[in-house]
């Protein structure tokens, strides 16, 4: 009853092709944005901003980037953290070396640098695919982190490559409270998510999906594989690069190359598996899930241990976390390969009929 598209007639192409064709969806998205932009800043505490909301948005953006490459274009990548590192270091260097470059411009430049590096490491995808490609992207992961550690110029000659980011200046105003940083990150993420949502239903997005489903067939129907695949690498790395720049500037403030480890790449991969491969919304759901799970376990495990009177060491908590991560990945792949986004879809189907059974 509540969620029904019946009676919503479209009388123009523009109305038919809009991003959210169902009225309830539009209202829902607007309410969500209103809550995120207005409600959350009023209600949330400092801890929530700096420990949960900001990293959630940043990782959702990175997961979105990986989802474009893996979920839509079908090229598995294990090097997303490295592209985040490129974005972070490039944005830092643009701020450092070009006097008076606006903050947003340096984020974009960081993203573009990551895109260029992404194209470079995407080149092998023209010759190899599947597992070979996944392993090849590991080359990006190790090589980029090594470069950032070993070339002192990239980190402005600091020891072991640690950089401390510059002040966040936006239109002559310095952002230093968590709320302001949150709003900046939120604004960027919303714009980029809407852009992605639009992109995946455009010619480009459809070409990506054709390549994902069967690349030989795609090339037979006239999709040029090389530009399509490389564009997927470029766009995906751009998203990861911007996420990396935000990670350095708005979340941590000081990063080292080793922070962008293989572990982080896997974490981003897990986000899209659990959230939903090939779904924009899934990236957000997955990021929320993966970030909240450790916090939840930290709280729940000692409580459970006390309940059953078990001896408990803090090392065990981290082991259980790893174990639960692994088990959940297998569980989701077996039970719901399309992730949380699919569950949301099923819920919507049910909502269309509710409260009637048929």
């Amino acid at each position: 009853m509540l969620y029904r598209e019946a009676g919503q007639f479209k009388t123009s192409y523009a109305a038919d092709q809009q991003l959210f064709p169902i009225r309830q969806d539009r209202i829902g998205v607007l309410v969500l944005l209103a809550v995120a932009f207005l409600g959350v800043p009023l209600l949330a505490s400092e801890y929530w901003f700096s420990a949960i909301l900001i990293p959630f948005l940043i990782f959702a953006l990175a997961a979105l980037g990986l989802n474009i490459l893996t979920g839509y274009a079908g090229q598995l990548s294990l090097g997303s953290a490295a592209f985040m590192a490129v974005g972070a270091y490039a944005a830092y260097n643009f701020q450092l070396r070009i006097e008076g470059l606006p903050l947003i411009a340096s984020f974009i430049c960081g993203g573009l640098t990551a895109a260029a590096v992404g194209i470079l490491f995407g080149l092998p995808s023209l010759r190899i695919k599947g597992f070979y490609l996944a392993v090849a992207t590991l080359a990006a992961q190790f090589f980029i982190v090594w470069c950032l550690t070993k070339f002192p110029w990239l980190s402005n000659n600091s020891s072991s490559g640690v950089i401390s980011t510059q002040k966040l200046m936006l239109f002559g105003h310095e952002l230093n409270t968590p709320v302001e940083k949150y709003l900046l990150v939120l604004g960027i993420v919303v714009v980029m998510a809407l852009a992605a949502k639009n992109m995946v239903r455009s010619t480009t997005g459809r070409a990506w999906m054709a390549v994902r489903d069967m690349d030989v067939a795609a090339s037979v129907i006239g999709i040029r594989l090389m530009p399509t695949k490389l564009l997927a690498f470029a766009v995906s790395s751009f998203y990861c690069g911007v996420a990396g720049a935000l990670y350095a500037f708005c979340y941590l403030g000081s990063v080292e190359p080793d922070g962008f480890s293989l572990e982080m790449s896997f974490k981003i991969l897990f986000m899209i598996i659990i959230g939903g491969v090939g779904s924009i919304m899934g990236s957000f759901l997955g990021a929320a899930f993966i970030l909240l799970l450790p916090i939840f376990l930290d709280v729940a495990l000692p409580f459970l241990a006390e309940l059953f009177g078990l001896p408990f060491a803090s090392a065990t908590v981290s082991h259980i976390q790893i174990l639960v991560f692994g088990a959940l990945i297998m569980f989701f792949l077996i039970v719901e390969p399309h992730g949380l986004a699919r569950l949301w879809q099923i819920a919507k189907e049910k909502l269309r009929l509710w409260p009637f059974p048929h």
């Binding site: 090849a136 070993k150 790893i322 792949l333």
Partner: protein
């Protein structure tokens, strides 16, 4: 020249250690088409269970047998509870499931056996062979030589097993064509359980060699990362490929570590050590651009 040879031989011998891990990947990939990212975690689990059982007071031989039992049971459980449920899924989904499996093991193993690094004594000392040191002034580790010997015995045994036993023939049949194998009455699921058992055995051998050398610790799981470039160089489906790939990667990585950083230092200044971490990957990547199926891999022809 002596120094070059010393580095080369040292590299070849460490390449054998990489090949030991790569072998486990190849076995499972050949028989079931699963790219098992958890092989490194299995190496860790195997080494940890040997050490863990020995700590309870068991002698080495008993610990090895028990560890083998654990690995086999583990392999069968994996097949039954994870892979069988994922039949008909795209290979990438299976690959991601094995990443999950790797995390699962990395959490589970230290909970059972403890996470602190421990030494594993096999009774072989890691010291240069005096005879070679005296005559040619080269440092060749005794331990590396033994490891190479063990690896060759293992490969020979596996080759014989695949070639001459009934199970080996069934394994090869399954590797060639699942459906054809099923249609002539080979029980696919038993075969997969056996393959996981054999891969567990290879992991056990690799785990004991690596564990005795570097200590039994979490870093053992990273052996998988060393084996991956070996695999793409040698081809996922070829046992000789794993061996040759391991030798090439081992030798070139050690040579690169010695000879490239000074050159880069002259060019850019600064310290450029630690090339080992990425050099094998870049080497394998460049190689793939020329020959996408690896050295001994099967050429793949797509049909629409």
């Amino acid at each position: 020249m002596n120094f070059f040879l010393e580095v080369l031989i040292g590299g070849l011998l460490s390449g054998v250690m990489y090949a030991l891990v790569a072998l486990g990947f190849v076995l499972i990939y050949k028989a079931s088409g699963v790219f098992n990212f958890a092989q490194g975690a299995m190496v860790y689990l195997a080494a940890l269970s040997v050490v863990g059982v020995m700590e309870k007071g068991a002698p080495l031989w008993l610990a090895v047998i028990l560890a083998f039992v654990i690995m086999t049971l583990f392999g069968i459980a994996t097949e039954k509870f994870v892979l069988r449920k994922l039949v008909n899924q795209p290979p990438i989904a299976l690959f991601m499931a094995t990443i999950g499996l790797a995390f699962f093991i990395e959490g589970l193993a230290p909970m059972i056996f403890g996470s602190e690094p421990r030494a594993l004594e096999l009774g072989i000392v890691d010291e240069p062979i005096p005879w070679i040191l005296d005559n040619w002034n080269m440092v060749i580790s005794k331990f590396d030589l033994v490891a190479a010997g063990v690896a060759s015995v293992l490969v020979a045994t596996l080759a014989l097993f695949f070639q001459y036993t009934r199970i080996g023939r069934a394994l090869r049949a399954v590797a060639d064509d699942h459906q054809a194998a099923l249609s002539i009455g080979i029980p696919l699921q038993h075969i997969w359980a056996i393959v996981w058992g054999v891969a567990g055995f290879v992991a056990l051998v690799a785990g004991m060699m690596w564990g005795a050398r570097n200590g039994v610790q979490f870093a053992l799981t990273f052996t998988a990362l060393k084996a991956l470039p070996v695999l793409i160089l040698g081809g996922f489906t070829s046992v000789p490929g794993a061996i040759v790939g391991g030798l090439i990667i081992g030798a070139s990585e050690k040579l690169a570590e010695i000879y490239i950083p000074p050159v880069m230092q002259d060019l850019f200044g600064g310290n450029f050590g630690g090339i080992e971490g990425w050099f094998p990957y870049v080497l394998a990547l460049l190689f793939l651009l020329v020959r996408p199926e690896g050295l001994f891999g099967e050429r793949h022809i797509d049909r629409v």
